[in-house]
C-alpha cells in the first residue's frame, strides 16, 4: 500500500558525518516490496512530517537502509532517531539505475549524492571507476567502506583538505577529465548537486561518452510518491514517478531550468 506508511523500527543508527547518519530499519510487522538501487522511500517521522530518502544499501533480508542528512525539521527528526524509534515508510518509489548491458561502469557522486549510488558499488561491474567528491575529508560518507571496495578504482576528492588528508583536492570534474576510460563502453551514473551533474555530464560528453549512456538522479519536492499531487514536477516529468533516475538526453534541458 503506497498511501499508508508501514511501520518500521530503527534497528541501528550509524553516525556518518557531523550532519548525516545511516538508519537500518526493520519491519514491525508487514514489510514493503524490495527496493532497487536508485529508488526512494517516503520516510515519516511521526508528528513531524515525511521526506523522500533514497535507499543507501540493500541487504536483501528485508532491512531498509537509508542515509539521512539533517537539513530541516523532518530530516533532523529522522537523522536523530534512536534505535527503537518507529518510523513510517512508503515505497518503493521511482526509477532505478539502469544497469542492464553495462560494460565499463563509471560512478560519480558528490556529497550526500553518494547514498543512492552505494548499492551499485556493492555489486561493481567488471571494470568500475568511482569518483566521490565532498566538502572536506570529514564530510565523506562511508569512508571505512570506500577504502575497501574490491574491484573498484576509487578516487576521493575534497574541496578543502587538511594536514591529514592525502587524497585529492579539487572538484570531481578534474579526475573525470583525465582518468582512462573507453567512451564506447562506458555507462556513467551521476548523483549530487545538479550543477555538479551538469558539469560532469559536459566533461563526459567532451570525452565522447554518448548522452544516452549517462544517467543522473534528480530530486524535487516529492510528496505523494505516485505522480498524483504534482509537487515534484520538473518540466514534463513528475520526478517521483519518472525519476529520480533520468537519462541525460531528457535531463539536460531541465538542468538549466532556474525554477518551476
Amino acid at each position: 500500500m503506497t498511501w499508508v506508511p508501514t511501520p518500521y523500527r530503527v534497528a541501528t543508527r550509524t553516525v556518518e558525518t557531523h550532519d548525516s547518519a545511516t538508519l537500518a530499519l526493520r519491519p514491525v510487522a508487514e514489510s514493503l516490496p524490495a527496493f532497487r538501487p536508485g529508488q526512494f522511500a517516503m520516510l515519516y517521522a511521526h508528528g513531524v512530517g515525511e521526506v523522500p530518502i533514497s535507499v543507501s544499501a540493500i541487504p536483501g533480508d528485508g532491512t531498509l537502509v537509508h542515509t539521512v542528512r539533517s537539513v530541516g525539521a523532518v530530516s533532523r527528526a529522522l537523522h536523530d532517531a534512536a534505535p527503537g524509534t518507529v518510523i513510517g515508510v512508503r515505497g518503493p518509489f521511482g526509477t532505478a539505475w539502469r544497469l542492464d548491458d553495462v560494460e565499463d561502469l563509471l560512478v560519480v557522486a558528490g556529497g550526500i549524492g553518494l547514498a543512492p549510488l552505494r548499492p551499485v558499488l556493492a555489486h561493481p561491474s567488471k571494470r568500475t571507476v568511482f569518483i566521490a567528491g565532498a566538502r572536506t575529508p570529514q564530510d565523506l560518507l562511508y569512508t571505512a567502506e570506500l577504502s575497501h571496495l574490491s574491484g573498484v578504482d576509487t578516487v576521493l576528492t575534497v574541496d578543502h583538505g587538511d594536514h591529514d588528508w592525502n587524497g585529492r583536492i579539487g572538484f570531481v570534474t578534474e579526475p573525470l577529465a583525465s582518468i582512462p576510460l573507453d567512451p564506447d563502453r562506458t555507462t556513467a551514473l551521476l548523483c549530487g548537486p545538479e550543477p555538479m551533474m551538469r558539469f560532469c555530464a559536459r566533461t563526459l560528453l567532451g570525452r565522447g561518452v554518448p548522452a544516452e549512456r549517462i544517467q543522473v538522479s534528480l530530486e524535487r519536492n516529492m510528496q505523494c510518491g505516485i505522480g498524483l499531487c504534482g509537487h515534484c514536477q520538473l518540466g514534463p516529468l513528475l520526478l517521483c514517478r519518472s525519476g529520480p533516475v533520468v537519462g541525460y538526453p531528457v535531463a539536460e534541458p531541465l538542468l538549466l531550468t532556474r525554477e518551476l
Partner: protein, 153 residues
C-alpha cells in the same frame, strides 16, 4: 630517480601534437620518480620546469599565517603541474609537494619556450594544449567557489 625520455605518445595531454612535435618536446623532457614528501618547488622560486604527472599525486600549496602550508589543489595522473614558467618573471606563485609516490614527465621550460619560438606551428599547438589544461583548471576552481556540497540548512 631520472630516466631518459623516449616519447610522449602515451600522454593524452599531447594527443593533438604531431609525432614530430611530440618528439621535439620529448627532447627537452625526462622522466622522474619521487617519493612521498618530496618538495618540488617553493613559492617565489625560479619556475624553470613543469611536470605532467603519470602516476601518483602532487599538491599545490601556499603559506597561511598560523595554518602553515595549506594545500589548495592536487594534481593527479594525466594532469599538468606548473604554469608560472609561461610568463615573466618566471617565479612560482605557489609551492608543490608530492603526497604519494609519483612518476612524472619533467619538461625543461626554458628549452620548451625556445623550441616554440623557433617553430611557430609547434608554439601554436603547445599554446592550445596549455590553454585547454588551464581552462579545465579554471572552470573546476570556479565550480568549487559555488560550495555545492554545503548543508543548505
Amino acid at each position: 630517480m631520472t630516466t631518459p625520455m623516449t616519447g610522449l605518445d602515451t600522454l593524452p595531454l599531447f594527443t593533438n601534437l604531431s609525432h614530430t612535435q611530440r618528439a621535439a618536446v620529448a627532447g627537452v623532457s625526462r622522466i622522474e620518480t619521487y617519493e612521498a614528501g618530496t618538495r618540488l618547488f617553493d613559492e617565489g622560486g625560479l619556475a624553470d620546469q613543469c611536470w605532467v604527472v603519470q602516476t601518483g599525486c602532487v599538491t599545490v600549496d601556499t603559506v597561511v599565517p598560523q595554518r602553515g602550508r595549506v594545500a589548495v589543489q592536487s594534481i593527479g595522473p594525466g594532469e599538468l603541474l606548473g604554469w608560472s614558467w609561461l610568463v615573466p618573471p618566471y617565479r612560482w606563485h605557489f609551492g608543490a609537494t608530492v603526497v604519494s609516490p609519483t612518476r612524472a614527465v619533467v619538461v625543461d621550460t626554458a628549452a620548451l619556450r625556445q623550441l616554440a619560438g623557433e617553430d611557430p606551428a609547434l608554439g601554436y599547438q603547445l599554446s592550445l594544449v596549455l590553454l585547454e589544461a588551464l581552462l579545465n583548471r579554471l572552470q573546476a576552481t570556479r565550480i568549487r567557489l559555488l560550495d555545492l556540497y554545503r548543508n543548505p540548512s
